[in-house]
Symmetry: C2
Subunit: 404 residues, 2 copies
């Protein structure tokens, strides 16, 4: 770790400083208001280091001073709290039948939440990216109008995304090797903040972890219920991406090699049997399924299920069993505490979860389904966009401060 002349490498210093900044931010989040001396006393960092870190945080308006203490022993001290009001983080999602945008402030409050109908499945990548960029620009303009600085913008895509932001494959958008990050950077005129592209379910599970009902569960999976079924996986508190970033392809676990054809070119994958297209065809065999307008069909299925329609109930039970079959593989391999059904599944969950849970228990080798609970996601269709915005907040929490 030392360079030839014996001095420590710069990256060492940068890493240590980021770690220490994160320590101070986390300390303030749990303990504010508190003084510089309090921080030094508890963290073991020396006072000069704490002062320097706090100066950085104040300069960036991530922390502010709120006045002197009075009711304590010893010299009065200047107390600190978290700030962050001049910032915003933006997340977007492109999917087969909608676009969404969410902006959050540093505390996670929503500054905007938009949804647009979108014919993703029948739009070529060029015009699709143009629509997405237009939505991004409107969100950025709104933040500028509110005098907030954008910290980062992340787009969720239902498919395989490599670490450079190239969409390798998104079957339900018809995308193959689309360099979305590069196109967006160009459309947004190379902004100074990070622009990232990520699998939609990965972003959604970050949102579920931060904003969902499971209080920061360390082992959590989010299943995006759309035309495809992606899994966002959090293990031991951290997003699981895998070696090339292609983890979470739950929808393409094989259930039945003789099953219906799948968008990936194989047969009988989970999503060919339990994805939204399959659900609609099973529940509403007369319906003409448009891949860009699932909403009305889902509403109709929901209405009929509530009315006790036996055919629809049987169709949802069958779907639940296929989901449970897939979830049993998750349980056998990664043993999550919670599997949250998201997207369109949230509406249909009351009729999916009982059969899915039964199948899970029957098929997982650990007793009682390995303790895995199938639950309804607490988030709506903006989950991935909210997670995209949350990603920029996570970077700050990890000590990657915005540049001055």
């Amino acid at each position: 770790m030392f360079t030839k002349d014996g001095g420590p490498q710069r990256s060492d210093f940068a890493d240590v400083r980021a770690t220490n900044l994160a320590v101070v931010l986390r300390h303030l989040r749990s303990n504010a208001p508190c003084s510089r001396a309090d921080i030094a006393g508890t963290t073991g960092l020396n006072k000069a280091t704490v002062s320097s870190l706090v100066t950085d945080l104040i300069e960036r308006r991530l922390v502010r001073e709120v006045g002197m203490t009075e009711n304590r022993i010893g010299r009065p001290a200047m107390m600190l709290v978290l700030d962050g009001s001049p910032y915003a983080a933006i997340g977007l999602e492109v999917n087969s039948d909608y676009l969404t945008a969410v902006a959050l402030d540093l505390s996670g409050e929503r500054l905007l939440s938009w949804r647009r109908s979108f014919t993703g499945a029948s739009t070529a990548p060029g015009p699709a990216i143009a629509s997405l960029a237009a939505l991004a620009k409107r969100a950025i303009a709104k933040m500028a109008h509110e005098q907030r600085r954008v910290l980062g913008l992340t787009v969720g895509v239902p498919g395989l995304v490599d670490p450079d932001g190239v969409v390798e494959l998104a079957p339900h958008l018809g995308w193959h090797r689309v360099d979305l990050r590069k196109s967006l950077l160009s459309a947004l005129q190379e902004p100074a903040y990070p622009v990232l592209v990520e699998n939609d379910a990965n972003l959604a599970v970050l949102a579920e972890q931060r904003f969902g009902g499971q209080g920061g569960a360390a082992n959590l999976v989010y299943l995006s219920g759309g035309a495809g079924i992606g899994a966002g996986i959090i293990c031991d508190g951290r997003l699981l991406r895998g070696g090339r970033g292609f983890a979470g392809e739950f929808g393409h676990l094989p259930i039945d090699d003789t099953g219906p054809p799948c968008a990936c070119g194989r047969r009988g994958c989970v999503e060919s049997l339990a994805g939204l297209g399959a659900v609609i065809r099973r529940a509403l065999p007369e319906a003409v399924v448009s891949p860009t307008e699932f909403g009305p069909h889902v509403d109709e299925i929901h209405r009929l299920a509530k009315a006790g329609d036996p055919h629809v109930l049987a169709a949802l039970a069958t779907t639940g069993r296929y989901l449970g079959h897939g979830i049993s593989m998750l349980t056998n391999l990664i043993n999550p505490e919670f599997v949250a059904l998201g997207g369109y599944f949230t509406v249909l969950a009351p009729w999916l979860i009982p059969e899915a849970s039964q199948e899970l228990v029957a098929r997982s080798v650990a007793g009682a389904g390995g303790g895995t609970q199938i639950i309804v996601s607490a988030l709506d269709a903006s989950a991935a966009a909210a997670g995209g915005a949350a990603q920029a907040l996570d970077a700050i929490d990890a000590g990657a401060l915005p540049t001055l």
Copy 2:
């Protein structure tokens, strides 16, 4: 995080101290010999803190002073290096046909490596634990004779192990709810060091990460090739255990619901088609398979494969395809960089890997098998025991020092 009287909680201090100890140990591992001032300068810890941490480490003989520098500017400084010679960590494994024991010193050098034939599949839990405890005692006695203090002892078991060390289920040992940790603690007369029980594949992958050929790959799976096939999974550098510790049940992923019966009570699981019993029955249909003596059969299969026996080659190709089918589920869900075939698979790997790799590519949704490479484990049958010993070393590296 503050107590009522305004003082920080003790756990805060303990956590920070462990983190800082780990920082100093890691710094010394990469940079030794170096001085206290070097450590303070690079880590941002203040000099008094570094001095106090180093005193702790020297008292425990984890670090020692090696003399003053001469050839540098400024005052000469006392240089420090890692020590640890008075310590040992012990790992054991119990499996259906053998017991193993390994002891390591702090640098990871092997102090002993034993293997015993063992009729695990036909021995009741009580006598099996007695045999295991006898082996443990011999290893402990040998370490005492060498005047090494034991830092920890970890036992690997081919089955589901809960966080308290209870073996929930180990089908190939015939164990169900066996409180192995409690029995061992009692047999070893409640030693002062940690005694842990862990899934065998989880330990083996820790050994593969530390001692294998993939140079600390961050996304790595080890498949234990025995009667059962467990997966030890490392994601993003860390062992994946799951919510209840039941992750890695690769052998019970479903391949064919109409397949042969599996030890778990279901049909057509991966291990019922690709586990060692299935391999032997497929390759040597005339053989009478003893579940407690696989070695001679594996030797015979190896001999015939090398001789080009067409039936044996076809049997291994079929087995490879089933393995590849299972590994494609790993790739779709967690996208590892490497899947290492361990245990008896290491001998047969040259005839398993080509077909397995082809099946993996055909079945994984990401192109080129998501980049997952199927490789031969660099470790022998002592992998899990070596991993068990390594676990105690990891605890030291994380700052959990031995008590004085």
